[in-house]
């Protein structure tokens, strides 16, 4: 308790160091991505890497400012943040700028604000506040419905932009609910859904159906003695059948052609390196040509000569892969893993369940971004446009991740204090 006032002593410096390292790696790679060998320059504030330097510095300032806030501020005002965010999300649909097919930006002077980025920490905060309030139990259906509403309201608004990538981010919050007691079956159902989805899109739905029936029959045979197991298998079977038909319907009737195409390309249903698969193919080529040790800083030909689109934002990992090779990728991914494990550990050491729940929210959202973004650049999952935390170019995303992370650091620095 002596250290209660010594703010910086209590801050988790491991996280701050990791955070800074990732930001600096990001800055160098953005420099490499926009580097023009015909016209080299180090610092130019008109370029992306010049601007990113300003973003990094300002993000750091915002981060430290957060540490100076009162501890109760975020808990108390979480409904306000959430409300403002929802208003902004509605506003962006009305007055937003349309960039690349997504109505996601509110122009403020020369900057453009992306409300969906800020929806992440606002949602985390409100979810944490709701779940940490006295008598709440996640196992109860009422709680599940309310929690789902908190998560799905911003998700739905973001889907209207339409920005499927950012909307999907919120699905990661199921990990938070799981930690707070949600049945493990929900995780299993989510996993099962993904597998069934892929199989249904790839093969004829009846083939998948036959497979599901065969699997269910086998399971029923082995667990025929246990009534409880039979109930679970039966409901799982029913779910699967319904899911297959709804996926089939959604895929063929609801999805827009370009969304269908993206799924088709990633699942290998169509091979079209010049068309819709161009981004993915070029991204894989850039990373794959990096080899073990990479081509060296500023030596990447694929990224330098613009073969990879969006290479300083969503596809920044290509530059890492091409210029720093597997070694560089290993380092970056290890840093992320360290960050995630550390955040979970920090969350668990909080006395207040509000801080713990929020911590899990931070971990879930960061995890989702890292996994989806890197997975997308190496062709593991469909191309979903979401940034790589701390590395990708862009003020809104860097600030939002910084705020997300530093609020947790703030809670952590006060963990010894009285709640």
């Amino acid at each position: 308790m002596n250290n209660q006032r010594s703010l910086f002593f209590n801050v988790d410096w491991f996280i701050i160091l990791t955070y800074l390292t990732l930001c600096i790696i990001g800055w160098f790679n953005i420099h490499a991505a926009v580097y023009d060998p015909m016209n080299p320059s180090i610092i130019d504030l008109d370029t992306n890497y010049g601007k990113q330097l300003i973003f990094i510095i300002s993000a750091f300032i915002i981060g430290f400012a957060i540490l100076l806030f009162d501890n109760k501020f975020f808990n108390t005002f979480s409904p306000v943040f959430y409300g403002i965010t929802i208003l902004l999300l509605i506003l962006v649909l009305i007055i937003g700028r349309n960039v690349g097919g997504n109505q996601a930006w509110i122009p403020i002077g020369s900057f453009r604000l992306q409300p969906s980025e800020f929806a992440k920490f606002a949602t985390c905060l409100l979810l944490a506040r709701y779940l940490s309030s006295g008598t709440i139990k996640v196992q109860e259906f009422r709680t599940q419905i309310t929690a789902a509403f908190i998560i799905l309201l911003p998700t739905a608004l973001i889907l209207l932009q339409p920005d499927a990538g950012s909307a999907l981010t919120f699905s990661s919050l199921i990990l938070v609910l799981y930690r707070e007691g949600l049945s493990g079956y929900f995780l299993v159902i989510e996993g099962l859904s993904i597998v069934l989805f892929v199989l249904t899109v790839l093969y004829n739905k009846y083939v998948v159906l036959v497979g599901v029936i065969a699997l269910a029959a086998t399971l029923i045979y082995f667990y025929r003695k246990s009534r409880k197991s039979l109930t679970i298998i039966g409901s799982g079977f029913l779910f699967s059948v319904l899911f297959i038909f709804s996926v089939d319907f959604a895929y063929n009737k609801i999805l827009k052609p370009h969304q269908k195409n993206r799924i088709d390309v990633i699942l290998g249903k169509v091979n079209d390196p010049r068309g819709i698969g161009y981004n993915l193919n070029q991204s894989k080529i850039a990373i794959g040509s990096g080899g073990l040790w990479g081509k060296g800083y500023l030596q990447g030909t694929q990224t330098k000569y613009d073969f990879v689109p969006e290479q300083s934002t969503d596809f920044i990992f290509c530059t890492v892969g091409e210029e720093w090779g597997f070694a560089g990728c290993f380092l970056v991914i290890s840093l992320y893993l360290f960050l995630l494990i550390r955040i979970v550990n920090i969350a668990e050491r909080q006395r207040s369940s509000f801080a713990r729940i929020y911590g899990y929210g931070v971990a879930s959202i960061l995890f989702f971004h890292v996994f989806i973004n890197i997975g997308m650049t190496i062709g593991l999952i469909p191309v979903i446009g979401i940034p790589l935390p701390f590395l990708s170019y862009g003020g809104s995303s860097l600030w939002s991740f910084t705020i997300l992370l530093f609020i947790l650091l703030k809670f952590d620095s006060n963990r010894m204090g009285i709640i």
Partner: protein
């Protein structure tokens, strides 16, 4: 802490599992698979070929026969094309809107990112007016290339032509050729392809995603320069060739002139010919089809591909062989009653009743009877079975370069025909045949096929008194004037030089004696020695043949002229040859203009395609007729 604390490990476990999956995938695409490294190079490196200039071909006096001329291909990169005034564009390059759409579609389906040819070989005028307005048409640019150009439009068969390589050639070239390259298809262009084509260079350029050049790859470390093809000095005399083509206008036939002391071919006319420039440029395809479908077959290289029974000029060969065998000499006389009787009822007519005639006279007056006797001596009275005597005779004739290709440096040379003894044994179903069965060979008719080149070569042998150099078209290659070894080798015809005097006397008299058959073709101040011949043509009017060399002492030129369907050798072939000889030796022609005009203006082409086809079907029947029946006329 609460009751679900342990779930922390599940969450962290998920993080670790996903991390491992990501790293495994990265390890696979970055370290294990090299597919992506190759794709990256394909992405960024453009190997631009640098085309070498093809070797220039000169005539023997180093006048240019074929050279390279720049042309301008209009290229397009479909992706970089922005809206522009299509009508203006079409007017500039002379195409319509439909043609534009078709070309553009083709280019886009080839690649939206890479340059492809929009229109080949713009003329200089179109290029100039287009270049001015190039900035109005983003995505289009002009690439220059060279094509062959023939300043005098002569010697098409001799030079040959070049064309785009086909798939088979590309596969067989072990990577030398690629799509769109040109190679020699006929003539010198083909036979010296490997020297003429030069060495292609490569520039490794780095490009960005929009195919914009971004400088040299690895500072040009892997670049190579183009090496131009070797230039060739041919044996052809440009002025002589020009005259020859002029004289052969509207006639079917050949002229071959050889320098006896070297074997260099001075003139190589195949008629009807074509302008070699037709095989270049945008109309090439149409021109090619028109030439291919032409009734008179202008693509046929007659000097080395047409075979004729030589007719009376073959008497020269028989006279020399018989002397070498010791069966006749300059004092051998035979009695000519107007024909030669052989076998039980055979009779080979002669043009005149010559009475008692000697060897020299037999050449000058072309007495068939004399050669009937001579041939009978060689086959029936050689002290061996006639079949073996024939073999010996055949070997001696072969030494003149008859019956096998001479090995000229042109593709497509034919062997001709000099039947083996087995051929006759098979035909007569036993080997007890004698001179009577093959008597037409004595006067150069029957189953003989000799190309005009072989005829000219026989004259070179007579001019040299017993030897020849392989006839060839290229006398010096490249800056060091290399000549192929094989062309320096002296080939013997196996005849003692002493036996030539009497023959040459006879041949001189053919031209220079008022009673000679070619008196009309004598050349003032030059003693030309020649022999006329008429080749029986079962398809129509006989072919006119004349062979000669000049001057008698220290000969400079040996020549063979064949004019198809022209009748007697003396009427058409001999005057043509005499003009050629005079032109070559004196560099000018002393005969009156009317003399030449008669030859140039004459149209000796057979009437129409229809007639020829009808006669063709007749000829198949005629071929089965035995030799005896075919002996008819000579001079």
């Amino acid at each position: 802490m609460n009751s679900f604390f342990a779930r922390k490990f599940v969450v962290q476990g998920i993080f670790i599992a996903i991390t491992i999956i990501l790293l495994m995938r990265l390890f696979y695409i970055q370290v294990i698979s090299d597919e992506y490294i190759l794709s990256a190079e394909n992405n960024v490196i453009r190997r631009l070929p640098i085309y070498p200039a093809r070797g220039v071909i000169l005539d023997r006096n180093e006048n240019i026969l074929v050279q390279n001329e720049p042309v301008y291909d209009l290229m397009v990169i479909p992706r970089e094309v922005k809206p522009f005034d299509t009508i203006e564009f079409c007017n500039l390059i002379g195409i319509d809107k439909k043609g534009f759409d078709r070309r553009f579609k083709k280019a886009r389906s080839y690649s939206p990112y890479k340059a492809s040819i929009f229109e080949k070989q713009l003329s200089v005028q179109i290029y100039a007016s287009f270049q001015e307005k190039l900035s109005n048409f983003p995505g289009f640019f002009v690439q220059n290339r060279t094509v062959r150009r023939y300043p005098d439009s002569i010697a098409a068969h001799f030079l040959g032509y070049i064309g785009e390589v086909n798939q088979k050639v590309i596969e067989n070239s072990k990577g030398f050729y690629s799509q769109g390259d040109y190679h020699g298809i006929t003539g010198i262009e083909k036979s010296y392809e490997e020297l003429l084509r030069g060495q292609r260079g490569v520039q490794n350029l780095m490009v960005d995603a929009l195919n914009r050049p971004k400088g040299n790859y690895a500072d040009g470390k892997y670049d190579t320069v183009a090496v131009a093809g070797e230039h060739m000095i041919s044996s052809l005399d440009k002025d002589l060739q020009k005259l020859g083509e002029q004289l052969m206008k509207n006639k079917i036939g050949s002229i071959v002139a050889i320098e006896p002391s070297t074997g260099e071919i001075l003139s190589f006319v195949s008629s009807p010919g074509y302008d070699p420039n037709l095989m270049v440029g945008r109309q090439r395809g149409n021109n090619y089809m028109a030439l291919l479908n032409d009734t008179y077959k202008p693509m046929f290289v007659r000097p080395i591909q047409a075979e004729y029974p030589p007719g009376s000029i073959f008497k020269v060969v028989n006279a020399l062989v018989a002397q070498q065998f010791g069966l006749i000499n300059e004092n051998t006389y035979f009695f000519c009653p107007g024909g030669y009787r052989y076998g039980r009822q055979g009779f080979m007519g002669c043009t005149h009743v010559h009475g008692s005639i000697g060897l020299k006279g037999s050449i000058t007056e072309s007495c068939n009877t004399y050669y009937g006797y001579t041939y009978a001596r060689m086959i029936d009275q050689a002290g061996m079975r006639p079949v073996n005597a024939y073999k010996k005779w055949r070997a001696a004739v072969s030494a003149f370069g008859i019956g096998t290709a001479l090995g000229i440096d042109l593709p497509g040379e034919r062997n001709g025909l000099l039947p083996t003894s087995d051929f006759y044994t098979k035909r007569f179903k036993n080997d007890r045949w004698g001179s009577a069965f093959t008597i037409s060979l004595s006067i150069g008719q029957g189953e003989l096929g000799i190309t005009p080149l072989q005829m000219a070569n026989v004259m070179a042998i007579v001019a040299n008194r017993g030897f020849f150099y392989k006839p060839h078209l290229i006398k010096a290659i490249g800056d060091e004037n290399v000549i192929k070894e094989e062309f320096l080798k002296k080939n013997s015809a196996g005849i003692d030089p002493a036996y030539f005097d009497v023959i040459i006397d006879g041949m001189s008299a053919v031209v220079n004696q008022p009673s000679g058959t070619a008196w009309y073709s004598r050349i003032p101040e030059i003693e030309m020695c020649g022999k006329t011949g008429t080749v029986q043509n079962p398809h129509g009017k006989d072919h006119s043949v004349f062979v000669a060399f000049a001057p008698r002492e220290n000969p400079k030129i040996a020549i063979a002229v064949v004019v198809e369907n022209a009748g007697f050798g003396a009427t058409w072939s001999a005057p043509i040859a005499s003009l050629m000889v005079e032109k070559y030796i004196n560099k000018k022609i002393s005969r009156p203009k009317a003399y030449m005009d008669r030859l140039i203006d004459a149209n000796l082409l057979p009437g129409s395609a229809k007639v020829i086809r009808k006669q063709d079907s007749d000829s198949t029947r005629n071929k089965t007729v035995l030799t005896e029946a075919r002996v008819k006329s000579n001079e």
